[in-house]
Symmetry: C2
Subunit: 170 residues, 2 copies
DNA sequence: CCCCGATAGTAAGATGATCTAATAATCAGA
DNA sequence: TCTGATTATTAGATCATCTTACTATCGGGG
C-alpha cells in the first residue's frame, strides 16, 4: 500500500500528495477504464474467446446464479445483436464446451442455454481473485467514504446517461 | 438532484439511504461501466463509426492537442492492431472526412495522420456537454471527498492490474 | 560512399462475427 | 381452428481484422 506511483501512459497519481484536482480524478477514472479494458482483453485471450462471447457467458453465469433461465432471444436483447447472430454465438459456446442447449419446459419454439460447470470454474478462477481484491478494497473504506464513492459513481452515471435524453429523441 | 432512484436492470441505489454496502458500490461501478459503454455506442451510431475508428479518432485529437504528431505505426501500437489494419483504418477516416494524411517532414517512409477540424467539432459537440457535467460534478466535491474518490479509483485500478502480474508472466 | 538490416506502409487473400431476408415450427388468442 | 406473433435457423453479404509478401526508405558499419 506504500507504492509510490502508478505510472500509466497518461495521468499520474501520487497517493501521498493530498491535492487531487478535478482533472486528476477524471484522469484516474479514464485510467481505471483502460485498466479494465486491458483486463478483459487478457481474460479473452486466456479463454480464447471474443468480447461478445465472453459477455454472453458472463450473462449466462449471472442469470443462472439468480435462478433465471436464459433463452437465445434473451441473449439477443441483452447483447443487442440479432437472433441469427445468437444462433452462431451459441454454436460457438457449445462447440467450445462453455454452454449447453436444453429444451424449454413449456415452449417448444425456444431453448434454454445453460453454462457448463467447466466454464463456471474457469471464469471464477480468472476473475475471482480480482473480484476479491475489489471487495477487500471497498470493505476497507469507512461507512462515510463508501457513501462518498457511491454518490460519485451514481452522479457520473447520471452525467453519462443524460446525453441520451438530449441528443437522441429516437 | 432529488431524484428518488436510478433503476438500471441490476443494482439499485437510493441516494438518501446512507448505507451503501460493499456490493452496492461494486454494482454502481458496474452500472457506470455499462452506462459508459452505452454512451459510446450512441456516439458511434451518431457518427456512423465503429469502435476502433472512434478510438483512433479520439487518440488523434488528444495527441494533436498535446502537440504530438501521430504516424500510422503509432496508431497500430496504441490500438493493438497490425499496421496493415491501420492502413485500411486510415483509409476509412480519410474517406469519411475525419482525418488527413500528410507527409512526414523528415522520414519519407511514413506519414502524419491529422484529424480534421470537422471531426474535432463533431466530437466536441457530442462529448463536450457530458464532459462538462462530469467536471461540474467532481468540482462540486470537497477537497476531502475528491481525495477519497481518487484513492478509490487508484485502488481499483491496482486491483484490476494485479491480475496481469500473477496470471500471465508472458 | 555503399551495402544491409531494420522500419514503415501497402496489397492480396483468408478468417470470423455480424447483418438482412427468407423459412419453418410453434404459440396464443379471437 | 385459423391467424398473426414469436422464435430459431439457414443462406448469402458485408466489414474489420489477420498473416504473408512486397516495396520504399532510413541509418549505421564496412
Amino acid at each position: 500500500m506504500a507504492l509510490p506511483t502508478h505510472d500509466a501512459a497518461s495521468g499520474y497519481w501520487y497517493p501521498d500528495s493530498e491535492g487531487a484536482s478535478t482533472v486528476d480524478v477524471l484522469n484516474l477514472l479514464r485510467r481505471y477504464r483502460s485498466a479494465e479494458t486491458a483486463m478483459r482483453a487478457r481474460t479473452r485471450a486466456s479463454m480464447r474467446m471474443n468480447e461478445t462471447d465472453l459477455m454472453a457467458l458472463r450473462y449466462l453465469l449471472r442469470e443462472q446464479h439468480a435462478g433465471r433461465a436464459v433463452r437465445p432471444v434473451d441473449l439477443a436483447r441483452h447483447l443487442h445483436i440479432s437472433t441469427a447472430s445468437v444462433t452462431t454465438l451459441v454454436d460457438r459456446l457449445v462447440r467450445d464446451g462453455h454452454a449447453l442447449r436444453e429444451p424449454h419446459p413449456t415452449d417448444r419454439r425456444t431453448q434454454i442455454v445453460v453454462p457448463t460447470k467447466h466454464s463456471d470454474d474457469e471464469v471464477r478462477a480468472t476473475l475471482g481473485p480480482m473480484h476479491q481484491r475489489m471487495l477487500n478494497l471497498v470493505d476497507g473504506l469507512s461507512e462515510h467514504d463508501r457513501a462518498v464513492v457511491a454518490r460519485f459513481l451514481d452522479g457520473m452515471t447520471a452525467a453519462v446517461e443524460e446525453a441520451a435524453v438530449h441528443d437522441k429523441p429516437e
